[in-house]
């Protein structure tokens, strides 16, 4: 497998609601080749975000196996997963989740604090990431001084600043108007096509899903169909 490739094999995920055990994913299988742009769709409760969290190493499956770039991540410790995420995955959230006390530049720089890197190198990478998302002139602005679309661009810059091979986006346009959403989706497309990032995006919006190379449908914890 090459960079950013994801292999989900027979993954089961159970949750406990009180004494009751709820199975959210039922032996799910999914293959995302390197450089793919997959939109994951499905009704609420179908297990989209759960699957995304498992692929991103934020949660661990009850059974089954998850491999990213041929490395098994479902049996890594919490510490190993944290290091792995810092190196390999960029996350994009629906509500941007920027730190309000930091400028756009510092928000983007945050993942680089985990790497051994000179100040100058960090600065160059941050400015480059901001340039890719078209916000180099907003580097010194705080999130409160930015529009929703700009905040999401900063969040994308934060996701790509470490140069991960895999980007995971959970409803990245869910909080944006159509026009801004299209700009963000276009940016993701560029990241996929020009920068070679593998992208898995959870969305309810068919218009957003249309930007992806491939759409997978989830229903009640199973892969319903692939488009």
């Amino acid at each position: 497998m090459s960079k950013g490739a994801v292999q989900v094999t027979q993954v089961v995920k159970n949750f406990h609601k009180g004494k009751e055990k709820v199975e959210v994913l039922h032996g799910l299988e999914l293959t995302v080749p390197s450089g793919d742009f997959v939109a994951m769709m499905g009704p609420s409760g179908s297990g989209k975000t759960t699957l995304l969290n498992l692929i991103g190493g934020l949660d661990q499956p009850s059974a089954g196996e998850i491999r990213v770039d041929n490395m098994r991540i479902d049996d890594l410790s919490s510490r190993q997963l944290a290091h792995w995420r810092a190196e390999q995955v960029g996350f994009i959230f629906q509500f941007y989740n920027l730190l309000p006390v930091l400028t756009a530049q510092s928000n983007v720089e945050l993942p680089l604090l985990l790497k051994k890197m000179s100040r100058q190198e960090r600065r160059e990478r941050v400015l480059n990431a901001l340039k890719i998302v078209g916000l180099e002139d907003r580097a010194k602005h705080y999130p409160r001084e930015l529009s929703g679309g700009q905040e999401q661009r900063v969040a994308i810059a934060r996701a790509i600043v470490s140069d991960p091979s895999l980007l995971l986006a959970d409803e990245p346009t869910g909080d944006l108007d159509r026009e801004t959403a299209d700009e963000i989706l276009q940016l993701l497309k560029v990241l996929n096509e020009t920068h070679g990032k593998t992208i898995i995006m959870v969305t309810h919006d068919p218009a957003a899903a249309a930007y992806a190379k491939r759409i997978v449908q989830l229903d009640k914890g199973r892969l319903a169909e692939a488009a």
Partner: protein
């Protein structure tokens, strides 16, 4: 940007809360510094007290006089090296409310019993030859603006002269320096002969006797011998080591050390609750942000370090500022209160304990929110949004 920048930014997030928490830490540490200085002042006599000096006073109270003849009888005891006696003059300069320690004594014996007194040899010889001569502590000289050779009328609240006059004429002939920080340079000494011959009553009586013994190991035996010698007389004595005597004197004000400890324990317990609550609230409000940080690769340990860094910064900054302000206040109060508390000072030990306390405060207040942040379930925290 680095972790310190992140900590600083987080502390500045709710400025009013941070400022109020910081203020509560500062006030607590000012109190800590002041109370420790007070305790130090009360304990100072104890620390400076010689192990080889015994003090004998009237069994009933130290304001009851002893017969002068006791001096010779004690000096005849084996193991006694030097002996000196003192009385309380009740002296004041201009203001009767501002009494100070002026002790009539046989000045020749003073330096035998208290060799730590530093006196200019020429002045000392002059003092021994001047009947109305005064030996005055250097701090007292400075505080009053007195000079060597100055004639000084001092009032006594107890003893009039035989002509009924309560004011006595003196001449400042010599000054002394104490040894060590906080030694008592706010006292004065006069010739016993002048005092004894001129006073209207109480001739040949003295206040208390200080005995310097050759070997401190014999302290207990000599103490017993002295008191046995005067047992069943009209004037029984109570002898104790100088340290015990000073401790007994200080105990009249209550157990200062215990009181200081009790007050500080209450203050720091309250502070723990106040700043602990502020830290916990601050971290609770950032649950989502902490989850995001963990998502992008911050390990549990790193998140704990950040939270602890905040609480430590707050506690150490507050502690340092509190100790610094305490130091300045003590410095100001030291001169004003020198008459009552000559040893008022902030010791290096207080600074060290203060810093350790600040460190502990930071660790304890950051521990619970830190552990909570460490255990934070990222998926649940992100889903809460």
């Amino acid at each position: 940007m680095n972790s310190l920048h992140l900590i600083r930014k987080n502390l500045g997030r709710k400025k009013t809360r941070t400022l109020l928490t910081l203020l509560s830490v500062i006030v607590a540490f000012i109190l800590f510094a002041l109370l420790n200085a007070l305790n130090h002042a009360y304990r100072l006599g104890l620390d400076l007290a010689g192990a080889d000096r015994l003090i004998t006073m009237h069994k009933v109270s130290f304001i009851q006089p002893l017969p002068m003849s006791y001096v010779n009888r004690i000096s005849a005891i084996d193991g006694v090296q030097h002996i000196a006696h003192y009385s309380w003059f009740g002296a004041y300069y201009q203001d009767p409310k501002a009494q100070f320690g002026l002790f009539p004594t046989e000045l020749e014996t003073l330096r035998q019993v208290y060799p730590e007194f530093q006196i200019d040899q020429q002045q000392w010889q002059q003092l021994l030859q001047t009947r109305t001569g005064l030996l005055v502590g250097e701090l007292m000289m400075r505080n009053n603006g007195w000079e060597i050779g100055q004639r000084l009328p001092l009032g006594s609240t107890i003893y009039p002269q035989q002509n009924g006059e309560y004011f006595w004429d003196f001449e400042i002939v010599a000054t002394y320096q104490g040894v060590g920080d906080g030694s008592d340079e706010l006292q004065a000494y006069m010739h016993y002969d002048y005092f004894n011959e001129a006073r209207a009553f109480g001739q040949d009586s003295i206040g208390w006797i200080v005995t310097k013994i050759a070997d401190p190991a014999n302290s207990e035996g000599i103490t017993r011998l002295i008191d046995e010698r005067f047992a069943n007389s009209s004037t029984e004595t109570k002898t104790s080591s100088e340290k015990g005597w000073i401790a007994g004197f200080a105990a009249q004000f209550g157990n200062i050390g215990l009181m200081v400890m009790a007050i500080l324990a209450c203050v720091f317990f309250t502070l723990l609750l106040v700043s602990g609550n502020a830290m916990a609230q601050s971290v609770r409000e950032r649950t989502n942000e902490l989850a995001v940080m963990k998502t992008i690769g911050f390990t549990d340990q790193r998140v704990v370090r950040l939270v602890l860094g905040e609480s430590l910064c707050l506690a150490l900054l507050g502690g340092l500022l509190g100790l610094l302000m305490g130091y300045l206040i003590i410095g100001g109060a030291r001169t004003a209160m020198a008459q009552f508390l000559p040893g008022l000072a902030m010791t290096p030990q207080t600074v060290l304990i203060g810093l350790i306390l600040a460190l502990l405060l930071g660790l304890v207040t950051g521990l619970i929110p830190g552990v909570r942040a460490m255990r934070l379930n990222v998926v649940e925290a992100l889903a809460r949004r």
